[in-house]
């Protein structure tokens, strides 16, 4: 059987899968007695129909880009990092510590410092499973799962007992100083004279996410380190033959992965909340797994998958907000999208290959 041409492989097959996922979703919507067409309209209008919708879509997408990249970098080294959730929450702690440490005069100064704080703590949290895997052979899947729980416990304790201002009901840190508030994309558009996406949480971190995509791409496919990460991920024995030290690669890949996951906090903690709240990651670490898998561990694919999930989040949010459809429907739609585009894609690809082969013949 001839492989699919590139356009069909990259565009047509995923598109058909996506349509299938939406078709089944429509059936589910019908089954609960709602109107799928209307639902779709609300979702599209709410997520993509206005600069306002885009502002939210991009905000969510930014989170997913970071966690997706984190999962992908580890995956290239053959490591399944389920710990992006915990690493991102520790990244949040890093951001909070940095932002609260000084009365930052300007976000331009606070941002790099916060990025470093987020990356350091995220990477530090990833270092534990990395080191255990490399040195002790402890399976990284278990250790990262465990560290998610431990991180949650740690943050819970810190927020309630240490970082919470006295008298505040909210298990959250104090507000960051105004100088540590990141400009939103609409602020930035406004300063360029364009009225765009007023009061949405999408912020300058989105650009950071784009930069991260580009840098990860460079790292993985253009640097010797990336070459070594990929080689190690494909074959540990071959890597040893080539002088690629397993311990070093495991640790470095996980440090980068953890740093990326941690940097998500720049978006949600610094850019959106302006303080550290409990459970601020809200499952984005797990969505990152889906995003990385769907994006085939490629930064561009991850960006697209993140936008798709951002759309689902925002569109689904609108749906739940402004219709009587329960919000869990969105979870179902997400599941179907992941299933059809990610796991059942051969169901579309194989017949497509046959069809195209017959047409070519």
């Amino acid at each position: 059987m001839t492989p699919l041409p590139r356009w069909a492989d990259l565009v047509l097959a995923p598109l058909i899968s996506l349509l299938l996922a939406f078709a089944i979703s429509a059936l589910v919507i019908l089954a609960i007695g709602q109107n799928p067409v209307e639902a779709l309209r609300v979702m599209v209008a709410g997520a993509l129909g206005s600069s306002y919708g885009w502002g939210y879509t991009l905000y969510y997408a930014t989170n997913f880009v970071f966690t997706g990249l984190a999962v992908a970098v580890a995956a290239h080294a053959g490591l399944f990092n389920i710990g992006a959730e915990g690493q991102a929450s520790l990244g949040g702690l890093g951001v909070a510590l940095v932002c609260l440490a000084l009365p930052w005069p300007h976000w331009g100064l606070a941002l790099p410092a916060a990025i470093i704080g987020a990356a350091l703590l995220g990477a530090g949290w990833a270092l534990i499973p990395a080191w255990l895997q490399a040195k002790r052979g402890s399976h990284i899947v278990i250790t990262t799962i465990m560290l998610n729980f431990i991180g949650a416990a740690l943050l819970n304790w810190l927020l309630v007992n240490v970082m919470r201002p006295v008298g505040s009901m909210d298990p959250a840190s104090a507000d960051f100083p105004p100088g540590a508030h990141l400009p939103t994309l609409s602020d930035m558009a406004a300063s360029a004279g364009i009225a765009w996406g007023k009061s949405t949480p999408a912020n300058v971190s989105f650009l950071l996410a784009l930069a991260a995509c580009a840098l990860v791409w460079l790292l993985i496919w253009r640097t010797p380190l990336g070459y070594e990460i990929r080689a190690f991920g494909k074959s540990e024995r071959a890597a040893r033959y080539a002088g690629i030290a397993p311990v070093r690669i495991t640790v470095i890949a996980m440090l980068i992965s953890g740093a990326l996951a941690g940097m998500m906090a720049v978006n949600n903690v610094m850019g959106e909340a302006g303080r550290l709240v409990l459970n601020n990651v809200e499952g984005a670490g797990f969505i990152g797994i889906a995003v990385a898998l769907m994006g085939r561990n490629h930064p561009f694919g991850i960006l697209l998958a993140s936008l798709l999930f951002g759309f689902l989040y925002q569109g689904g949010g609108e749906l739940a907000l402004f219709s009587s459809i329960p919000r869990e429907l969105i979870t179902v739609i997400q599941a179907l999208v992941i299933l059809f585009t990610g796991a059942l894609d051969n169901m579309v690809r194989l017949p497509l290959e046959r069809l195209l082969a017959r047409r070519a013949a």
Partner: protein
């Protein structure tokens, strides 16, 4: 304009205060025949979106449940000076904001009095969802009430977890209840959302008493739930909806005296409310109402006099 109600992340049917708010809104709807808008949160970032969107549609007043809205509301409210906002469970300053705060401590205190009086072993339990200030406030009031009724009584405290799963883990709730029973507890107060359902169930199975929270849970296991600490969220929502755009700004304290918090008494727990228990609760109520007893608020200094 229609009023609007925003539910926090726990969701409309959390068997807790979101659901109670929903009940209040429905009551208003049934009585007046009016309609209202409602929203359920799914993520932290949506809070602002929800507030602004509702304000822009002209909803008034906009009622929201949960302290987590505090920050966002302080930011959004000034942009909509003609809209009234009502926030439940925390205080936010603003000329167009009504803050409704409950004195959970007082309600829990009464629960503690009831528990200690009903207990035969002199050991009672408290199971909280997550270790957060609100839950500590419940636990602290409860412990004070227990000690007040029986200075020698022991209070065993457990929290279910540190992730959001802590609110939805009836299995863990049940095991904690068993563990507390094994340590002698024969009345257990659960302030743990869906986890509490497991606590109440296990207590009923194991033949000990339990105390429900937020809404009246006495009916879940008739004759086995000693009482429930009811936060009159439905009343607060009902009042706000009824007042409409004229809802009064400022802080509204819902305490025992104002009927904002109370112990649920109904046919289901009548047999359990023996004379002694009923009397102890009534006495404590009276003393709180008169100001003779002051229930320490955990939130005021992050500490609890009774442990």
């Amino acid at each position: 304009a229609d009023p609007a109600l925003i539910f926090d992340l726990g969701g409309k049917f959390d068997k807790s205060f979101n659901e109670s708010a929903y009940t209040g809104a429905e009551k208003w709807k049934a009585e007046t025949g009016g309609s209202y808008k409602e929203l359920e949160m799914q993520s932290e970032a949506q809070r602002e979106q929800a507030l602004r969107r509702l304000a822009e549609t002209g909803a008034n007043p906009i009622v929201m449940t949960g302290f987590a809205f505090g920050e966002v509301l302080a930011k959004v409210a000034p942009d909509y000076p003609d809209t009234r906002f009502v926030i439940i469970d925390t205080a936010v300053d603003g000329p167009n904001i009504q803050s409704v705060v409950f004195n959970e401590g007082e309600g829990s205190y009464l629960a503690g009095v009831a528990a200690a009086t009903a207990s035969k072993t002199g050991t009672v339990g408290f199971i909280g969802g997550m270790d957060i200030p609100l839950i500590r406030k419940f636990g602290c009031g409860y412990a004070q009430g227990v000690k007040a009724a029986n200075p020698n009584a022991r209070v065993i405290q457990n929290m279910t977890g540190t992730t959001p799963a802590a609110w939805n883990d009836p299995v863990k709730g049940g095991e904690l209840a068993r563990a507390q029973k094994a340590q002698g507890a024969d009345v257990i107060y659960a302030a743990a959302g869906g986890t509490g359902i497991g606590v109440l169930q296990t207590a009923a199975d194991e033949g000990i008493l339990s105390i429900g929270v937020d809404s009246n849970q006495n009916h879940l296991h008739p004759g086995k739930v000693l009482t429930s600490v009811v936060k009159n969220v439905d009343g607060a929502v009902y009042d706000a909806f009824k007042a409409g755009p004229a809802v009064q700004p400022g802080t509204r304290v819902m305490d025992l005296k104002s009927g904002g918090v109370s112990l649920a008494m109904d046919d289901n727990n009548k047999p359990l409310m023996t004379e002694a228990v009923a009397k102890a609760v009534a006495d404590a109520s009276a003393r709180i109402a008169s100001g003779e007893v002051k229930v320490h608020d955990y939130m005021s200094d992050n500490s609890c006099p009774a442990q």
